[in-house]
Symmetry: C2
Subunit: 352 residues, 2 copies
């Protein structure tokens, strides 16, 4: 049995206290993050600065002693390294020069991909060297479908209709984009593992907008290819797949995507997961209840812990930490999951 | 057995050709709609003009002989009639003066609710008088949770975090808003039925962002109250509930929400619905494939028809018609579902 709680749970062990980390645990809700962010002009400058990216990755580990650190980066570094111009407009999210059809694919190139991301891999190595021993380092990538959504739309969208329309109108052209991304994501994860990542997570944030047929083709199939290649090259590195919003298609993903653990979004009923999933799972507290705090947070967190007790389970949110979340709520959550009984403000009158 | 195909299917009959209508079948994709829209300043003026709202409701019936007409209106007329200022900014969607806490509820009033919507009920009566005999008239409302989302956020949002945060922080205050909306929606549907609506649909467009507990409280419970009241007052009027994105929670909704038929979004696998749902269902072609057209449309539509053959089923999309959809694609879909074999442009060389 490994001494690292996260690796043990992903290997199927069932600890009495689940390992714990939070998606976007490094980020705007932390004042020390905002201080570092203020030292560079753009978000991408932060992602590509090994000193600063290492620093912000480690900040939440120092504060909360999470069981895992996740590389500070962005899923869109993959299209960037394929040659698609990318910028982040403050308060408006990412902007990419859109790829709208097969002809536009000529603007992308895999040549020099890993070189353009060398700062990211250098960051991974530094974090690994600085992490305390029981803390696991997670690398990550966007999954091909989700990356394609942003690349085709040129940014975020509420329904990514352009992406779906292209996939229906010219499935061969769209498959070529997915194929290119499948190779790039495999390379990106493999480089992170070579640099020191002990687990990798695939974020398929827009898996939940697809009907069953396209879900199998654009979510499950590419993930299966990536997982197979990673398992071949790095047989001891577990892959967490997170097909956010997959709903009734979660069981297909669990059975066929070839990943080692399943990320659950907030909508997955605990009982359903325990009864139906073959792999260990990670999730799924609502980030809005973490922001809200108080009794609602305590009740919701206890429900998740109780629902997944004695399962191969990693405590996490069902989506990233919201920027307005008070850090004290995160501290309270950590105490609660680890079974310490924090003194809540509402209890202080008892002591007075 | 009723002679109206939609009512027959909703009553559990299994016709060899399913009844057919499309969400947003009246709207911007039709040139005759855009002509009428150009005659008024604002979208709300169109909703509250019985002549014009009747006209645009009937346009797709004339063109495509759908089995149902759905009142042309908007879900946000309910908050408007509760006293919340509402406007539609062209290209940006709806704007409401946000209701953010229990104190803000004082700005809403149920007094005069039905009077402020009298133009809508007049429209319902006119449409019913003008509809050809086998065509069923559907009234509708937004469901309380979805209306609350827009009312709290002040418009659309990608995650309606503010709404969820309020529901966690002050559940009593938020329940008061849901309670007010439950009464208002019941009244709104009841008035539409009194004016001539033969079926009503409850749109819960944001049901899919809630964990199981809040889903039960804010989606299932209010819907059950509304359905019970409507069934009591109007025992022969079926209610279609559409909890879009409910995913793994669809079965709870089917079992407990008290509606007569279930609207399926695009992500629901046909086989799952056939095996698991107790009520008749409606859906669920991807609007993006209708826009794309061609062989992809043909294949996807045939898959839906085949998957639901001999079931109590209403053919529809899984979401509304997209504004850029070519009307010819809708015509091709109608022919296809009704089993006529349209001459596709790709076949014309055979005739040459």
């Amino acid at each position: 049995v490994t001494a690292k709680p996260l690796l043990a749970a992903l290997a199927g062990h069932r600890p009495s206290i689940p390992p714990l980390w939070l998606m976007r645990q490094a980020g705007r809700y932390l004042p020390e993050y905002r201080a570092v962010r203020g030292r560079v002009n753009s978000f991408l400058d932060l992602c590509f600065n090994p000193d600063l990216a290492t620093e912000v990755t480690l900040q939440p580990i120092r504060r909360f002693a999470f069981d895992a650190a996740i590389l500070f980066s962005d899923i869109l570094v993959v299209p960037f390294a394929l040659g698609q111009p990318l910028s982040f407009v403050e308060g408006e999210g990412p902007r990419l020069d859109p790829i709208r059809n097969a002809a536009d694919l000529g603007r992308l190139t895999a040549t020099g991909f890993a070189e353009r991301l060398s700062a990211v891999y250098e960051t991974v190595g530094r974090i690994r060297r600085e992490l305390p021993d029981p803390v696991t380092l997670i690398g990550f990538s966007g999954a091909p479908w989700t990356l394609a959504c942003y690349m085709v739309e040129g940014g975020s969208s509420h329904d990514f209709a352009r992406t779906r329309i292209w996939s229906y109108r010219d499935s061969a052209g769209f498959e070529a984009l997915i194929g290119l991304l499948t190779e790039a994501v495999t390379e990106h994860l493999s480089q992170q593992i070579a640099a020191g990542a002990e687990v990798v997570q695939l974020f398929d944030s827009w898996a939940g907008i697809l009907p069953e047929g396209p879900f199998r083709r654009f979510v499950v199939e590419p993930t299966r290819h990536i997982a197979k290649a990673i398992h071949h090259r790095h047989p001891h590195v577990p892959i967490i797949g997170f097909p956010r919003g997959a709903g009734l298609l979660y069981d297909i993903y669990d059975a066929e995507a070839g990943v080692d653990a399943i990320g659950l979004d907030t909508t997955v009923p605990l009982g359903w997961a325990v009864e139906n999933l073959a792999h260990p799972y990670q999730g799924n507290l609502d980030p809005a209840v973490l922001l809200a705090g108080g009794e609602a947070l305590e009740r919701a967190a206890r429900t998740v812990v109780a629902g997944f007790r004695d399962q191969p389970f990693v405590f996490n949110l069902g989506h990233g930490v919201l920027p307005q979340t008070p850090p004290e709520h995160v501290a309270a959550l950590v105490d609660l999951v680890r079974g310490e009984s924090p003194i809540r403000s509402g209890d202080l009158h008892i002591l007075a």
